[in-house]
Symmetry: C2
Subunit: 228 residues, 2 copies
Amino acid sequence: MNSSPSLKSAAVEKQSHQSYFKIGLSVDCVILGYANKELQVLVIKSDLKEFAGQWSLLGDLVRPEEDLDNASYRVLEERTGLKNVYLEQVHAFGTRDRHPSGRVITIAYYSLIDIQNHKMQVNEHELTWKPVRTLKKMAFDHRKILDTCLLRLSEQVFDKPLLFNLLPVKFALRDLQELYESVLGETLDRRNFRKKIAVKHWLRDTGDMEKSVVHRPGRLYTVKAASK
Amino acid sequence: MNSSPSLKSAAVEKQSHQSYFKIGLSVDCVILGYANKELQVLVIKSDLKEFAGQWSLLGDLVRPEEDLDNASYRVLEERTGLKNVYLEQVHAFGTRDRHPSGRVITIAYYSLIDIQNHKMQVNEHELTWKPVRTLKKMAFDHRKILDTCLLRLSEQVFDKPLLFNLLPVKFALRDLQELYESVLGETLDRRNFRKKIAVKHWLRDTGDMEKSVVHRPGRLYTVKAASK
DNA sequence: ACAAAAGTGTTCAAGGTACACCCATGA
DNA sequence: TCATGGGTGTACCTTGAACACTTTTGT
């Protein structure tokens, strides 16, 4: 653990948010993207001494004048510059000892964005995308929060057109299938997958084809109306 | 609206809980029972002037030293005397204007109990069971909270052995079917229902039969292991 | 011509739905 | 003997799973 001098201790952080206690209320956003054929989550280096070197989800205290949902939209927009993205509340986490600064309960949300389409300077401010798979340990109970959101997501992907939010506007069915496989953690039969998606009527054929692929190009589709 | 002199106004209530603000944090429990072939929910007359005469769910502010889940177990035990019952977190409700006393966000839980088996004096302290169907308007956003919990429940009843928590230890399949019909809001075919339950292997035949019924008595079953 | 992925249909098993008759009990 | 609900099986349909060959493109 390399603890730089600029890291705040939990005690100091508690001072600066004094007005929100006795019980602090925060939102944490599991912001998911898809790159290199893997699910990625947007994380930041923890600024707490207790979690020096560990990655943390993006969150903030809820302001007294804002709705819960608005707070998570705000966090999302501040960090990615994106509005109007899919965001869903998942669970409230509130064990006593989950935050070293004192009593903070957090409402977890997850959000799905097109990683290409967000302008934020990644790797500045120690904000970065990390493959979900590689994050073994995270600050606070954030790995548990992440798992809870991933489970919720996987339960919904065949009921609602969610995963399209992670892809560019135009995509091939193979891209979509690989994404489903990442999220579900299992391989899928190509013919069965295509039939299963077809009967949902979520997609529109753009008429375009893949370019510059070293094999037969696939058709490019776009989603009729993704969930926001 | 008959507003008795003992009702607190929101302003007064805010004073008495001053230490918890800026943002207050509560839990609300949708405590469900089953009687007269209807789902019932345990409610109390609102003590706020703004909601005089309206029914309210059972809730309380979360204490600084208790886990979120513990807070809802505490509310449940204080109101029903029951421990060890099924309790599940459903959703956090946090719009700015949901509470007239100021900013209070609440975490909603639902719980399933055997209504015969709870000792609480109902109709004292204006605490009572009301059929879910008859509660058109409730205090705060409590009708919305109730609906959210009922929806969650109905989505789960064939996946987990939940509804048995609402019945006595021994019950006939007809009782069970009527309960399922109440929760799902639709009638079910008797033969198909019995097959569907049979393949779950949730039940054990007690060897006993119904008594004092005016028709052929049904077998009494008990659940092998209900979810707690 | 070869490598690589696109695109496509059929068969089988399992689960869900619709539906009707005889049985046991109390009045 | 009648009214009431208990208890059961079969046929059909829908859905999901397994599985292989031809086509198109770039190199």
